[in-house]
């Protein structure tokens, strides 16, 4: 019996969070391999060529963030709905199915050449593989659909038969959107232009669309809990933020339709709407700081508060500012497909999605581990240190990749006598070396983070004065 939890079925979130953290560690290790391959080209070649390392790095990211979103949903929906989860058993079954399918896919990437994997898994029957981020075998994609549908069914039944809050409805909307847009991954026409056009319906409409609804809902939930600010105020902010997300982000898809064969008017639609995409992120920053400043209590879990504020700020920097840097068509003409894109991708994913998952884990884990409202001060101190190590090193990685990208644009795209791609890469190697060093610091930060869960301390754990008075099921 976990006395820290309001609803016992929230406990199913725990394996999801643990799996997320484990896969996160693996993701970073492959990131470091790739980073080294940028400067030592034959590192691990031909056993793990760059394309394999990259596929593992990006796919692990997607999978562990999905684990994080699922864990977050299983944790927060019972509290919002004021009832136990519809089926904790189904949640555990889908956990194992997703973990095993994910692990097998990664093993497949590493064990055999990609073309062999495509052949083994019957890619010829319904070819969906070999497109960026959607490299999973078709059978894995079908597995993802089944798992996500079972997950949404479970969450949906809980939300719809319990108290309906703005947080849970927005979360559910985001999850349904995630499932719907993933279906476009099964559309792969022979015409590359059409392929690319609808590929973005998965990729862009996920990360600059429906995932922001999930992000907003999780952030709102945590802010309600740690600040004690009236739910009405927080929900109003949430509506306005996600309204701006959709108004700017949906047509903002057009910033990917500049140079792939689509009509010229997308240069205008894409530039104008995506230039407004920082607005919802800026509002999110205002929102988070405003709520914390207006807090009606000091929650003992200060690490969670730090993560929540950090998410808002870093998402604004990475998604907002670094997105804006290269989103206007006349700029993007020169920066498209350079290290500038990589720089933006890293800080945006870290700031928005990695950090929101770490925020909810930070808030939920002490409760899931029955430690009361917060981990010990010593453990929190360790966790905060890891926050700074990871966040600062990711900002440094972003700055270095931006430097590499600017040099690349100048040497390869703007010079009177442009250099070839490979010659350019050689001349900007110093940025990649420094990036690898920053990556190692990130890894240290990540180990620090993991170790914060194992801090042993004689000190009494932080009081649970902040807990709701009576757990419903005791």
């Amino acid at each position: 019996m976990n006395t820290s939890l309001q609803y016992q079925s929230q406990a199913v979130a725990k394996p999801y969070f643990i799996a997320a953290i484990g896969l996160f560690v693996a993701q970073i290790l492959f990131g470091l391999i790739m980073g080294l391959q940028y400067v030592i080209g034959d590192f691990m070649f031909p056993e793990i060529p760059f394309n394999v390392a990259r596929m593992v790095h990006t796919n692990l990211l997607i999978v562990w963030l999905l684990f994080g979103f699922m864990g977050a949903s299983y944790f927060l929906v019972p509290e919002e709905s004021e009832r136990e989860l519809y089926s904790p058993k189904l949640a555990l079954i889908t956990f194992w199915v997703f973990l095993i399918a994910g692990a097998l896919t990664i093993v497949g990437y590493l064990a055999v050449p990609y073309a062999t994997l495509a052949e083994m898994t019957g890619n010829d029957l319904l070819p969906t593989m070999g497109r960026e981020f959607l490299e999973q075998p078709t059978i894995t994609k079908i597995g993802i659909v089944v798992v996500v549908l079972a997950f949404i069914f479970n969450i949906g039944m809980t939300v719809l038969s319990g108290r309906k809050t703005v947080v849970s409805i927005v979360l559910l909307t985001g999850l349904v959107g995630l499932a719907v847009f993933f279906l476009f991954s099964f559309y792969n026409p022979d015409n590359l232009v059409l392929d690319k056009y609808f590929w973005w319906w998965v990729v862009h409409l996920w990360v600059e669309g429906v995932w922001e609804l999930i992000l907003g809902a999780i952030l709102a939930f945590v802010l309600i809990k740690v600040t004690g600010v009236d739910r009405e105020i927080i929900e109003k902010w949430l509506y306005v933020i996600i309204a701006m997300t959709l108004v700017t982000g949906v047509i903002g898809t057009g910033h990917h339709y500049f140079f792939i064969g689509t009509p010229e008017y997308w240069l205008w639609f894409g530039s104008i709407f995506s230039a407004l995409e920082p607005i919802p992120f800026f509002m999110m920053t205002l929102f988070a700081f405003n709520m914390v400043n207006r807090r009606r209590k000091d929650h003992p879990n200060q690490a969670a508060v730090l993560w929540a504020l950090g998410t808002a700020v870093t998402a604004f920097l990475g998604a907002g500012v670094w997105g804006f840097l290269h989103t206007l068509a006349p700029v993007n003409y020169f920066t498209h497909g350079t290290q500038i894109t990589a720089a933006h991708g890293h800080l945006a994913f870290y700031g928005a999605y990695v950090m929101i998952v770490l925020t909810i884990i930070s808030y939920a884990m002490p409760l899931l581990r029955n430690q009361g409202a917060a981990a010990t001060l010593k453990a929190q101190k360790r966790e905060k240190l890891s926050f700074w190590l990871m966040t600062i090193s990711m900002v440094v990685i972003t700055l270095l990749l931006t430097g590499a990208g600017v040099m690349q644009v100048i040497l390869q795209r703007m010079a009177e006598e442009p250099m070839s791609f490979m010659a350019t890469q050689d001349s900007i190697a110093i940025f990649y070396w420094l990036r690898e060093v920053a990556g190692l610091v990130f890894l240290v930060g990540l180990f620090t983070y993991v170790s914060s869960f194992f801090v042993k301390d004689s000190e009494v754990s932080v009081t649970d004065y902040d807990l709701p008075p009576t757990p419903k099921n005791s």
């Binding site: 034959d42 760059f50 593989m129």
Partner: protein
């Protein structure tokens, strides 16, 4: 936020703005689909080009290269490789087929994919077709 700005106002902005955005996006998509045939040179998508795209995917080429600026940034842009190689399909085929199995000491090297002559031809045809898409004049120069 001011008290007169109520939660239901906020919700209506969200719902209205969201629905309007998706409808506008769908409208633009319909229009784009009508205009694409003039730009994507689809009349030249032969069975060979389609096979080339399939091979492109089955060997995860996008895991290192960019194609029309999208993909990984580890190896050269290939949307215009046909023109960069002087409109010479043979050069593309030679480049792919000549990669050393064990790579090149200290350097980035493309893996040896062991493609057949027919497959090499299909790959080259696919890259030739790709170079003929109207991309609003991107990339800025021949280096990609």
């Amino acid at each position: 936020m001011s008290e007169r700005f109520t939660k239901s106002t906020a919700r209506n902005i969200y719902l209205g703005g969201g629905v309007f955005s998706f409808l506008l996006f769908l409208g633009l998509t319909v229009d784009t689909m009508e205009r694409l045939p003039e730009r994507d040179n689809r009349e030249n998508i032969t069975a060979e080009v389609a096979l080339g795209k399939k091979l492109w995917e089955d060997n995860n080429c996008i895991g290192c290269h960019t194609l029309l600026g999208e993909g990984a940034y580890y190896a050269p842009e290939l949307g215009n490789v046909y023109t960069r190689f002087g409109n010479d399909k043979q050069m593309i085929k030679d480049m792919i087929s000549s990669r050393p199995v064990e790579g090149v000491e200290g350097r980035r090297s493309m893996p040896q994919f062991n493609l057949s002559e027919e497959e090499l031809e299909a790959m080259a045809e696919f890259l030739k077709w790709t170079s003929e898409i109207d991309t609003n004049n991107w990339p800025p120069n021949i280096e990609g």
